[in-house]
Amino acid sequence: MLKNLPLFPVEGSTGAHEVDALYFYLIAVSAVFTIAIFICVMVFAIKYRRRSPYEVPKPIEGSWFLETLWSVIPMLIGISMFVWGAKVYFDHAVPPRNALEIFVVGKQWMWKLQHPEGNREINELHIPIGQPVKLTMTTEDVIHSFFIPEFRVKRDVVPGRYNNIWFQAMRPGTYHIFCSQYCGTQHSAMIGHVYAMTPDDYQNWLAGGGDQSMAKRGEALFQQLGCSSCHNLDGQGRCPNLRGVFGNTVLLRGGGQVIANEAYVRESILFPEAKVVAGFEPIMPTFQGLVNEEGLLQLIAYIKTLSTRAANPSVPLTSPPRGRTTTPAGVPVR
């Protein structure tokens, strides 16, 4: 019977329990207040029902004590909810360093996913259990929202930027993927499944599908688009050498600096003039329309590998690394 009438979603991820605990706290508080109000209303309505059409009750003005009491107590409870809720939110804002990164591109009306090893899927996501997984997400068209109810995670997928979520599945199983931000005709068909598997099964699955890693594809794209003709990887040309750039601070022309993260690389490909590296002219053409969102993610994956193989700190265009190093993408830590 309960199979047909689920009342509570499975706790599929390590983070789910914390969200549920918070949920039960709020339910408990709500139940107390709701029941109290209902009982008061019912008891008063019956006990003080009008017994004669001419009766006039004694007026009561109000009470500062009660007003203060029932302002301050809800406020304190509210603040406790806020603190707890903010803690849960912040704890999940930043993915762990060792997270396995998978890339998501939303599109009317499907989810396209790529694994660093090169496996590509549509509306399906295979992940290993017991391992943090970070999704880096963007969209080709409108706003979507990536939602896995069993993991209690959701994030809008906004055009023009990379939003992240992360989770760690606890046990093998199949879970829902929903698009939860309305996106047009087949919004409700933009659904899929997460397949959480043991690490061994996951390795087998990976071996079965991938032909070329994302970074390799990115490298091919890098050649194909002609990036390599200017961004000489062996020295300094008219364009910055991209070795060792990713994850480090870049000094900008006209002052200012920026950390070269996914968003910066993306912006530099599509809107090259926006943040030009100090010491270079804004001569790079835009690649908007020449490379799609998936290709961009592959290029980013490739550029990331340039920083992890042989970072060359002497390259003048970047300042020394600032302690913060990035996860070697494509080489998931196990």
């Binding site: 006209g254 809107f271 090259p272 003039e273 804004p282």
Partner: protein, 226 residues
């Protein structure tokens, strides 16, 4: 109902009020509440502008160099003059000098039309320079996209302002018609007063638009090629 029999005979007196004083009080206050909605209406544009300017300060500075600062300043002056004639028209209406009211209103309309004419000239200039987003936008600077963004705000903001001016000119013409019937005097000049408030408000909007759109990049070396 007949607390103030003297004023009830006035043709403009409305039945829901006790006397003309209350009627005038209500009219002015109502106008101010309306102007508050106008503040928020333009405020939405200001908020969008502020966000994008904080994102792209450099591109906005370049884009503002497409504006003709001298012409903009001149137009600001024209609008200030129209505010002066407007406030003088209100005063004349209060004194019951309806002939004078008409002359000052005509002057206000004239200044308003000059402003709109200059604005049209500026729009034409933008068309020639091919910086009209959506219709005729061809510039080849690296920052072209963000320049387009500012130009969109330029046209929406000044367009909304110009629309308010056009409505204002219409309202002023209506006032002239009523003044020609010798309707205004110390007891009743609410329409002149209220439309005056509206006109001054439109002036204030321009007072902010001028530095926000024209003066951002005026101090920087010329960055666009003619």
């Amino acid at each position: 109902m007949s607390d103030a029999p003297a004023t009830v005979t006035h043709p403009a007196f409305a039945h829901q009020f006790d006397n003309l004083g209350q009627q005038r009080d209500v009219a002015v206050f109502g106008m101010w509440v309306f102007l508050v909605t106008e503040i928020m209406f333009f405020g939405g544009l200001f908020a969008g502008y502020t966000v994008y300017r904080s994102m792209y300060p450099h591109a906005f500075a370049i884009a503002s160099q497409y504006m003709n600062v001298t012409v903009g300043a001149l137009n600001t002056g024209v609008l200030i003059c129209s505010s002066l004639t407007m406030v003088l028209a209100v005063q004349a209406a209060q004194l019951g000098r309806n002939r004078v009211v008409i002359w000052f209103l005509l002057a206000t309309i004239a200044f308003g039309l000059v402003f709109l004419g200059v604005k049209a000239y500026e729009y034409h200039e933008k068309w020639v320079e091919q910086v009209v987003p959506g219709f005729n936008f061809h510039i080849h600077l690296p920052e072209a996209r963000q320049i387009e963004l500012l130009m969109v705000f330029y046209f929406v903001m000044t367009g909304m302002h110009a629309l308010h001016m056009v409505i204002g000119v219409g309202l002023l013409s209506y006032l002239i018609w009523r003044a020609s019937k010798d309707e205004f005097g110390p007891d009743y000049f609410n329409p002149v007063d209220n439309i005056g408030l509206y006109w001054h408000f439109v002036d204030i909007v321009w007072i902010f638009l001028f530095p926000m759109l024209y003066l951002i990049g005026a101090h920087l070396p010329r960055m666009i090629h003619e």
